[in-house]
Structures are given as C-alpha cells and as structure tokens.
Symmetry: C2
Subunit: 483 residues, 2 copies
Amino acid sequence: MSRPKARKPKGFRDAFSETAVARRNMLATICDVYRRYGFQPLETSAVEYVDALGKYLPESDQPDAGIFAFQDDLDEQWVALRYDLTAPLARVVAEHPELPKPFRRYQYGPVYRREIKPGKDRFREFYQCDFDTVGCDSMAADAEVCDVLAAAMRALGLDEFVIRVNNRKILNGLLDSLELADAGQRLAVLRTLDKLDDIGINGLEAQLGEGRLDKSGSFNAGVGLSAAAIDRLTGFLQSREDDRERTCDALFERVKESESGREGIQELREINELLDVVGLSSELVRFDPSLVRGLEYYTGPVFEIELPFTIKVKGKQKKFGSVSGGGRYDYLVERFTGQKVPATGASIGVDRLLAALEHLGRVDATGTDGPVVVTVMDTERRVEYQRMVQQLREAGIAAEMYLGSGGFKAQMKYADKRRAPIVVIAGSDEFERGEVTLKDMDLGAKLATEISDNEQWRKGQPAQITVHRDELVAQVTAILSRQ
Amino acid sequence: MSRPKARKPKGFRDAFSETAVARRNMLATICDVYRRYGFQPLETSAVEYVDALGKYLPESDQPDAGIFAFQDDLDEQWVALRYDLTAPLARVVAEHPELPKPFRRYQYGPVYRREIKPGKDRFREFYQCDFDTVGCDSMAADAEVCDVLAAAMRALGLDEFVIRVNNRKILNGLLDSLELADAGQRLAVLRTLDKLDDIGINGLEAQLGEGRLDKSGSFNAGVGLSAAAIDRLTGFLQSREDDRERTCDALFERVKESESGREGIQELREINELLDVVGLSSELVRFDPSLVRGLEYYTGPVFEIELPFTIKVKGKQKKFGSVSGGGRYDYLVERFTGQKVPATGASIGVDRLLAALEHLGRVDATGTDGPVVVTVMDTERRVEYQRMVQQLREAGIAAEMYLGSGGFKAQMKYADKRRAPIVVIAGSDEFERGEVTLKDMDLGAKLATEISDNEQWRKGQPAQITVHRDELVAQVTAILSRQ
C-alpha cells in the first residue's frame, strides 16, 4: 500500500502555538491602533475574479502575473487567490456604493503570491494587516497614514524605525522630462529604481544604461537610457536632505518644469505641515526621493517603514529593511465604476514585522504557556482528577487531565513539552491525607539551571509544595500570578 | 474602454464591520473555552497537497471530490484549498513526530468546498473552529469533546442545545449483520441514513429500497435493500431512549452479534460514565442511533450539536439543525506513517452558529460602534480638530476627524452611517468661547423615535451638550460609559 508523504507545498507554513499566539498578540496591538484612528474591520473572501483583482504585482511578467489562478467551475471565469488586501477593498467599495465615504476599514489575513523561488523570507502565503481611507483626496489622509504607522510601531515597543515617504507624481514628473520611448520603458525605469537597495548606485547606473552582470555572472540587459538621463535620475535619487521642507525645495528644483512634479511637491508640503502638527519629526518620517514601491497601482504619495538594524544573511550583515508599505491609489475603484474615488492606505507585513520583533526580543508572548497538567497517578482515581481539572477550568485557568497512557516520567515530560506552568500530582498518599502536590515548572526550570549545585536543591524538591485539596485553585492561582 | 464588474465569485462573502466584529467576539469566547480545556492554537496553510488531504467529503462523487484543486507550478503536483481543519491537522502531526502526545490544538479559519449550488446557507468559503486531541485512544477524550462543546455553547449564552452522540462502530456492526454486497453499497446506506432529517422515515424506507421521487419529480434510484434489512435499519434508528444507559441497553440487543457493535456500545457506556462525572445530563448529551455524520474518516464516536429551535425557510418552519460536528478518526495520521495515532475532536461551524446567535438575539456586539467623529466646521481650524482627535486617541477612544469634503449635513449623515457614538462640533462660536459641543448620537436616536413629539425635543437639542474645550476627553468618556 502506498502512503502519502506528510508535507506541505513549498512556500507554505504552519504556525505552532508560540508563533500563532505571538502573531495574534501583535495583530491585536496593531488593530487596536487602527481602531483608535477610526478604522473598522472588514473581511473579504480569499478568492476573487482575476479581472476584479487586476494585475498590479511587480511580477507581471511571470506566468499568471504571480498569482494563483484557476477556473471557476460554475461560470468558467478565472478566479484567483488574493495577492493583497487592497485590490479586494477596491472591489468591495465599487460593489457597495451605499458605503459611507470616506470608507475607513482595516483588514488582516493571508495573501497569496506565486513566488518562483520560495524559501527563507519568500513565501507563497503570508499575512498582511492593512488600513485604508477610500473616498478622500485630502493629503490629511496621507499624513494620517504616517501617523497610524508610527503609532502602530510604538504600540509594539519599537522606537527605531523610519517612515520613508515619496510621491509617484514627482517620479512621474521626472520621467516626463526624460522623454522615454513608451510606457514599457517607463515601467522598466521605475522597476530598476526600486532595486537601488539591492544593487547599489553603481549597479543602478549600469542597469539604467547598457546593463550589467548579476551575481550569477549572467548579463542583465539594461533600460538603455542616455548618460545624461541617467545622471538626472541618480542626481534626483540622491537629493534627499535631512529636513523634509528642504527636501521639498531640492526636489522642486529638479522637477519644476513638470506639472505632475510640481503637484507632487505641493502634496508633500501639505503632508509635511500635517506631520508637524502631530509631532512627527523629519528623522522619523523622511521624505526620500529614492523610494519607489513595486505595485503599479500607486498614483500619489507612497510610504514604507524601514527598520534600520542589520541582520546576518548568508554570513553578510544586511539591512533588515521594509516591514510595511503603502500609498495612494486613486484609480483602483474608478477602474470598475468610472467614478473618481481617490484612496490611500498602507499594509503591514505581519510575518516580517514579527520576525523583526523576534530579532529585537520584543515579542509579546502573553498566553504562550500551556495548561496546568493534572497527572494521573492512579487510574482508579480518574474521577477525582477530573474534578480538580473542572475546578481549575471554572476559575478560568487552562487545565487538563493527562489523557495519554504513559507513566509518571512520561507525564512530566509531556507537561514540560506542553510548557505547563504547574503540574498537579496526587497519589494514594496525597489522597489519604486530603492533599495535592503542586510542582512549579517555571521555578523548577530556574532552580535546575541556576543553582543546580545548591544544598537545598540536592536534598529536596524546592519547586514543589503540598497543599490541602480544598486549596488547589487558590494555590495554583497564587503560583501563576507569581510566575 | 471595458470595465471589470465589481463582484465576487458565487458562494463567497464579505463580512462588514458588524459581522466581522460579532464573529471575532464569538470566536474569542469559543477559543477561550478551548484554551481553558488545555488546547493550544495552531494555524496551518490554506493550500495543501491533494494526496495529503485525502478525499473524505460526502461529495466524493463530484468533480475533484468537492474541493478546489489546481496544479502547483513548482512541482506539477496537485494542490487544493483545505476543505476542513482535520485533514491538515493529521498532516501536521504526521510531519512532526516530535510533537507532544496527546497533541491538543485548536484552530479556526476559513475552509473551502466546491458547492455545486452555492446560495443561502451553502457557501464555498466558511469558517470553522476546531479542537482535537491526537494520540489518545481513551474515551475520556471523547467524553471531553462533549464537555468542551457544552461549555462553549454556555459561554455564548446558549442554554437550549442538544449534543447528539453515536458510534460508527455500532452502525458498522449493524451493517455487518445486513450482509451488504460491497463497500459501495455500505457507503450508500450510510449516506442515505444521513438524510433522515431531510426526507423523513418514509422517504428513508423508500430510498433504502427501490427508490423514490424527489421534490422536483425526478426518480432517485434506491439502495436496493430487502424489506427485512430496511426494517432492521429503521428499527435501529428509532431505538433511542430518553436515558443514555437505556439507549445503550436497547442498542446492545440489536447489534450484540457483532464484535464491532459490542465494542461501540462499550465505548458509549464509558463515555456515559464520564459525562455523569461532569454533570452532563441525558437531555443535554443524547445517545442517538440515527446520527451518522457525512465525513468518511470517522471510526468511532461521532458528535453533533443540534439547536432545537425552528426557522422559516421558504415559508415553512424548519429545524435550525446542526452547528457543530465531530468524531473519532483513528486512521487519519496512520494513513501517512503506518503508526497508530488515534484522535478525536469536533468542529464548530462558525458562520452557522453566528446565524443562530443572530436569530436568538444573543450576538455579542461589543466593539461594533464606530469612532467619535470630529466634524470640520471651519477648514482653517483643521489643526485644532486634529488636536482634539489626537487627545481622544491618546485616551484609547476611537476617533477621527471628518476627512470627506461634505458640509455639516453630510458630516452628520456620515457619522450616522459610521455608527459614531458621539459627534464633536466646534464652529467659530465655540472656538471663541473655548468650548466644544458634543452630540450623543445614541440618545439622539432614542429621543427621535421615542419622544419625537415632545416639547423639549421640538425646542432644542436635548442630546447635545456644550462643554469646556479642556473637558473634551472627560466628557466624551462619561457619555461613552453611559451608553
């Protein structure tokens, strides 16, 4: 008989208790910030019509544009797993004209991308947590995006982060002045600019021109711009000043000939004023002309949160990089309805941010403990163990009677694996005296590592106490609150 | 230019704020019960290999056995959206032999089924919330399933429910004694028995025999059993007594010739004893020989929660029916590994249960209110409105400044649609006097309906108060806590 192999498809993951709880805690903190800012939850289906999603991923040259698509058997139309939470939001708003405008919603959940090379840090299923304001063209909504992101980072205990802001209109203004061949070349330039962090300024110059050899030694054809155009682009990218206002002035000089460019600068100036009101400094929220963002649907301000610490990847220190991105997308709803419905928002990359919190030792692990385990010393006494468990549960304490078939040693090992905070032990001696023994697993672990050669440790079980049976719940509660 | 139509695929839904919050509240209550019983969270991927999921749905005769399957581009193997949370759990346990045994996890999330006729009450994406004990053959785990389900129902404020329990082994024992032609006929009998609630005892008799005309007038071929066999089956189905022990006695008489039957009865007797210990009466947890459950993977006790009230469907009163099902599935892990890993658990149908709570007026709507809306009476004062909002948010109160472009009337309408509990109003008069006006939207709505012809209502705005600007947060807090 052939047996299936127990495995999951490449690029997909399971989250066990600790990760699942840490992710939930993190999401609860973020969503509470979203709520305070007036966003309300929305949950959309994971499956959408392909034409409703649109094709906006940077991977648009890949098969199925980087999405998981299949044919619906009911109407033979193509459906796909959502690749983000923004395209479905636009579909919802267009489908429901009765919704209040501005429509302010938040949403979290898994999204799906057909990564060609899934692996560490590249997954085919990952969590996003978005908030958006739909039906508002005021830069107040874009400034608020920065405010919300900063509040979310702070609520998670992160102080070191930079919110980078740019405006597609400025980039577009610059590209207008370069007289590019067509929309294809334009997109190729944008995509190349987006790679600055990966390939550096020299790599970028080569890639914008004739092309370059990549790490594997194969030649990447370049965009084919003239040296003058490349100069203008790289000059633009590097014209960031420490101060937001001065950055606006510097950029203005570079794009003032273009209407789109001037408009983009004006929008940044408005955002700057509003950021000053809420006290977000130029160090925290930085106007950065080198920020591009890969998604094609952005039309105005774009945002990114960068965490400035480095991590080791294949032996090299590398910037941890972005944990959130967003921007204004004024045409996503109009695509459906023909009506102008401007919108802006951002998405937090939940799994990347959780990885950052883990790296920084800032994970909120509340609730990762296992249950109190009531051991079964005497199977004839099951009913009495069951009553203990019931009393603990009634007091809101997570508890279970050992349901396996192992002896005492196996039960202690089980309790340990389950991260039980306390083990309850009652054998015939205890029952005779009307007592139970409680083993404090936390203290036990500490004693075992810290003072294993201690006199007290050697002579007894300092992490165990024996209490009256009637005191079970009170004593367990006391130990738990001490832990 | 052709525009895509804003729509979602058939059988898929969006959950707007109220539903999303109500569902979350309900899940939080259920999961807290699971936690108290010692289950810990697990989250698995939505996409699995088809061979790892196995084909256990009642719809096994449908194309792709009722699942959404497509080919993975990386290895050309077939993958599918999970159709439940049990098959993925078995995969996880088989993939991770290092997990503690018993492995006790809970999980909630969407599952996907290719319903042929999606519609009201039949969806292609719906939520389940499961708990399972894997690696335990003791009936204590099965009795605990009933205990957990009862605790979850009570935690949600439901008192009227029946947990029906049967045992596949007893059914199998009965079928053994009928000398059926083959496994196909056996499965056909099981599936027919499962339809008792829909077609009644007469319809069942016909369907087990020659067949019957269905509602649409077309003929359904029957299973082709003899009259004697049909008699034995229907007699068996109806041999339920009010008392669990007496039901065991009655069933014993009908299957005592079969080893599997005797074993099944013995298991029910063990469960009965344990249910007595935790105080679950025969009315609440009922042994019911007519319970089948559609999923093929069950091997022992099976469970179902029935809500006994009726609802109107197409003009007819109909039992609301099942909101949860489960059972023992001792071979799901063994399928992969060849090692015996017995398991049991149950799944709550989240969306069905939420519909039941809605019907009974028992939804926990905590948190469905919108934000406090600070209206913009004077666009020159945006900075000051922004400060008000900021102060409210810092106090943990959900608040936003109106970001749309409408006048006062539009802003009030917006606040109403957003279910804002309070609207903050400050025009030039208020600013001059250093005051703000707060409109209590809850009280306003009440007054408008209850005492619309009241003297006070006609002459003023009884739901509005004007307070000192410095008192904004304190007064908003006071009104919110009154509401």
